[in-house]
């Protein structure tokens, strides 16, 4: 550079001189327009980015932004319309491919155009609040190509058709699908949803509606469920491959609705293959499938649970009210335990240990167990059987398991006080006859009952055990202090504390001399160490072992009841005795005596006595002699049982009556307790409170409670409020 002309150098801020050439804008625009064309015609390589950029820049600077912008819109639209036409003309499969290709081209072009026009994008566009170039390009594509009537429908149909094909087993070009659908997503969420997703979901619903209908008419429940699982995984996979992730939840719920929710009722109730059939046949896999599928839809699991509950209740009701099944109490309870195990397993393996199902199981058992009023008795008999022999040889852990299962049934009982009464009776018999298989097992159960019901429930039972132990010690002491007695008959005494043991009426009888002497010695010994107590012999509860000789040499040891012993010992002094003589000598009450004689004279294999006349029943004119021809395989013969048996009808009535009598003071105590703390309470609340307080023992009857309240009013414990009849007041 040479300094030919002298000029003052001034450093100024760079200012572009306004070029007043009117055709300037047109010329510049033409350049850019040409460039856009070239770009769309894949001829971009010959363009100078720098030049174009500067041209665009200049236009904006010289306030020709609008011309530039509108020109852009026009040009791009023109090209897009061309593109659209070419796409429309594509045939068959080429349609989609062409669309995809053109879309890619457009994006590339758009990129380049935006780079060139960046200055406009950054300055002119925001200040006039126009759409940015990139977005503009997308909008124009959407309006000119996608929403052109011919393309729009054809595109959607093509896509849905491909999806359908894939669903019916054909292989499709997933990559192409993904790209095309991505186009929708790029154009905006609303475009995706409106133009594709919504119709897609509708078509899918239609498809699965038809599918499921076909399946349900041709498959049984188990097969259908298998078939229903597949679409769920399929559709998730489809989404992963070529749809927007947000569609997953939507298509899943469509499938769930069409394949599952719409058919829940029909599936569950399907004859011969529905839920009931599965339950009966332990079809764990099918039920597990049903559970995992139905939990996806609202009311799915509720339906399953309700059907299961209904079935359980029906089955349970039949079980407990069937008179055949009530014949053997042990069988009865075992059957219930088996059913419970079965359902426990089902809930565990198939229903994922769902707590609501557990609750349904429990409430069903509670419902039908209490339909049979003898359930408390039967459960006690079951326990009795186990503790006598059923648990022989069973390991400690297994014993615990069985007892836990029994406790489970116990919990369902509403009349726990009835159970207590029977349990006490049976326990007494077990203890006194020494027939319990394991002391540990007995105590184990007491502990469980205590944990469940509290100390009061078991304190008397524990008292019974204590008595047994104390008696044992007392007996040792007795024999130690009377060494001379070791020669004679051996006496075994159990001293029972009256309050702890089930009440028995004391029955008198005359004991044989040898025995009564011993008994007296024991009585003095005992009373010597325990002043202030009274002993009464319970002759109706004892047993004896007697050695007997039949004929010349048949020797046997007989295990008999105390009454039977008294009778038999008489024959040491007489060969023949009449009924009246026996009655007089023993003073045993008539009904007991008759039963006692019957078991020794009329029962095959136990007939140690012979009766004349030889009839089934004992008459007051009968006479008896020792049966010299008595034989038995065994040396030791057991006559007369003290085993717990299912009560006869009259016995049952009596027990039930005693239970009812026992409940009265409990109800009164509850009423008094409640009123003492509340002072004033209205009728309905008293009833509710009383029932709640007593529910761990039995279900109190509102009428009975009312009776007790009236009784308490009469005895001046309570009074009715003078103005409000519904209120009761505690009288201190």
């Amino acid at each position: 550079m040479s300094n030919q002309r002298k000029r003052n150098f001034q450093i100024e801020a760079f200012k572009q001189r306004v070029v007043v050439d009117p055709k300037y804008a047109d010329k510049t625009w033409k350049i850019l327009e040409h460039a856009i064309h070239e770009i769309y015609n894949h001829n971009a390589s010959g363009l100078s980015f720098e030049e174009l950029y500067r041209n665009a820049y200049n236009m904006v600077l010289h306030k020709f932004g609008e011309k530039l912008y509108t020109g852009l819109v026009t040009t791009m639209t023109f090209h897009l319309k061309e593109i659209c036409k070419s796409i429309e003309e594509a045939q068959g499969g080429a349609f989609l491919e062409l669309l995809n290709r053109k879309w890619n081209d457009h994006n590339k072009a758009l990129q380049m155009i935006r780079d060139i026009l960046m200055y406009m994008d950054r300055t002119y566009v925001p200040s006039l609040k126009k759409t940015h170039v990139h977005e503009l390009g997308l909008h124009l594509w959407r309006d000119s190509v996608l929403h052109s009537s011919k393309v729009q429908t054809r595109l959607l149909d093509t896509l849905l058709d491909l999806v359908h094909k894939e669903r019916t087993g054909e292989v499709i070009d997933r990559v192409l699908m993904r790209n095309v659908i991505k186009m929708f997503m790029d154009l905006g969420e609303s475009v995706y949803q409106e133009d594709f997703e919504k119709p897609f979901l509708e078509a899918s619903a239609e498809f699965y509606k038809v599918e499921s209908q076909g399946f349900i008419e041709s498959c049984d429940c188990g097969d259908y469920l298998k078939k229903a699982e597949k679409p769920l995984t399929e559709e998730v996979e489809r989404v992963a491959h070529y749809l927007d992730a947000k569609s997953e939840a939507k298509i899943t719920s469509v499938v769930e609705r069409e394949m599952i929710a719409n058919h829940v009722q029909r599936l569950v109730h399907m004859e011969n293959s529905g839920l009931v059939n599965m339950l009966l046949n332990d079809k764990y896999e099918d039920m597990g499938r049903m559970y995992s599928l139905f939990r996806r839809v609202s009311n799915g699991l509720v339906t399953v649970r309700d059907v299961m509950t209904l079935h359980l209740r029906e089955m349970g009701k039949q079980l407990v009210t069937d008179p055949e099944k009530s014949k053997d109490p042990v069988e009865f309870v075992q059957r219930l335990l088996d059913e419970r195990d079965k359902y426990d397993k089902i809930i565990n393996l198939a229903f994922s240990n769902d707590k609501t199902f557990q609750n349904a199981l429990n409430s069903s058992f509670e419902y039908f167990l209490n339909l049979n009023t003898r359930s408390p008795e039967f459960i006690s008999l079951f326990v009795d059987d186990k503790l006598r022999k059923g648990l022989k040889g069973v390991g400690e852990e297994d014993v615990d398991l069985i007892l836990d299962k029994v406790m489970m049934l116990f919990r369902y009982l509403q009349e726990k006080d009835v159970f207590e009464k029977y349990y006490k009776q049976h326990l007494a018999k077990r203890l006194l006859s020494g027939k319990t298989v394991s002391d540990d097992a007995e105590r184990n159960l007491i502990v469980k009952l205590k944990t469940e019901c509290g100390y009061q429930f078991t304190s008397k039972l524990e008292g019974m055990f204590t008595d047994m132990k104390t008696s044992h010690d007392t007996l040792l002491g007795f024999y130690n202090s009377h060494p001379e007695l070791s020669e004679g008959p051996t006496l075994v005494v159990q001293v029972l504390t009256t309050g702890s043991w089930p009440t028995q009426p004391t029955v008198q009888c005359n004991l044989p001399a040898e025995v009564s002497v011993l008994c007296e010695k024991f009585r003095s010994y005992y009373l010597g160490t325990h002043t202030g107590r009274r002993l009464s012999w319970q002759t109706n509860m004892g047993t004896a072992d007697i050695k007997a000789v039949f004929g010349k040499s048949q020797r046997h040891e007989l295990n008999v009841s105390t009454f039977q012993m008294c009778v038999l010992m008489l024959f040491n002094n007489s060969d023949r005795l009449s009924y009246k003589e026996i009655e007089q000598a023993t003073e045993i009450p008539a009904s007991d005596l008759k039963r006692c004689l019957q078991s020794m004279a009329c029962v095959k294999g136990k007939n140690v006595l012979r009766k004349e006349p030889m009839s089934k029943d004992i008459g007051e004119e009968d006479s008896f002699i020792v049966n010299d021809r008595f034989t038995s395989k065994f040396y030791k013969v057991k006559i007369g049982t003290v085993v717990a048996q299912k009560e006869t009808e009259p016995e049952k009535q009596e027990t039930r009556q005693r239970v009812e009598e026992d409940r009265k003071p409990q109800i009164e105590a509850a009423i008094v307790r409640i009123m003492k703390s509340r002072r004033v309470l209205d009728h309905n609340n008293i009833i509710a409170e009383v029932i709640k307080q007593l529910q761990s023992r039995f279900l109190a009857n509102p009428t009975e409670i009312k009776k007790r309240i009236e009784s308490l009013i009469e005895r001046d414990f309570l009074e009715r409020d003078s103005t409000d009849r519904k209120l009761y007041r505690y009288l201190a």
């Binding site: 309905n684 009428t703 009312k706 009236e710 009715r720």
Partner: protein, 195 residues
């Protein structure tokens, strides 16, 4: 005052203690021309606040006759309708009703009255106002076996029943409420008959 005492003595002269005894009361009733079992005699006893059934003391006699301003038999007779009106006033009737029950508790520590007596008492006390309820209830009392005696609570309960429950439909009766059990049973029995 003199004349009242004089009248008293007239009826009390038969008994060894200075009281009008049952015989005396019978004579009084015939003089008043009122049947022996009439409710007005009971009302008179109430007015006297008589404590022992079948006997009137001087103090009790004075109390009533003074209040009724009667010193002769004819005046007493004329005062009876007024007495009845007074007793039947709602404010007094509840009190009278309770009194009637207590009056029949003759033994010491007695708390209940046997069915037979109750039936008579109901008839006398409530027969004129609640004829239907009384008749049906008496029927029921005679055939039921749950209760051999009636106590005060049940006695009062029946009065409330008559006052509050529409009869014979008993549509507003609810056995789950605090009604005495005997009335629940009566209600059941009525329902069975109506079915």
């Amino acid at each position: 005052m003199d004349r009242i005492d004089h009248l008293f003595n007239h009826y009390a002269n038969r008994s060894s203690s200075h009281l009008i005894d049952p015989e005396g009361i019978e004579e009084l009733c015939s003089n008043l021309e009122v049947p022996h079992t009439d409710v007005r005699i009971l009302m008179l006893a109430w007015k006297m606040k008589a404590e022992k059934q079948g006997y009137f003391t001087l103090e009790e006699w004075r109390r009533a006759l003074k209040a009724m301003r009667a010193d002769t038999i004819s005046k007493l007779k004329k005062a009876l309708p007024e007495l009845e009106k007074e007793v039947r006033r709602p404010s007094n009737f509840a009190d009278f009703y309770v009194y009637a029950f207590r009056y029949c508790l003759t033994e010491e520590k007695q708390k209940s009255i046997d069915i037979e007596t109750i039936c008579q008492l109901l008839d006398i006390v409530l027969g004129s106002t609640f004829r239907a309820q009384v008749d049906y209830f008496i029927d029921y009392l005679k055939i039921q076996n749950d209760y051999k005696v009636i106590n005060m609570d049940q006695w009062l309960g029946f009065y409330r029943f008559c006052n509050e429950i529409s009869f014979p439909d008993m549509s507003n009766y609810n056995p789950e409420l605090a009604w005495p059990l005997i009335l629940d049973n009566f209600f059941e029995w009525m329902r069975e008959k109506q079915a």
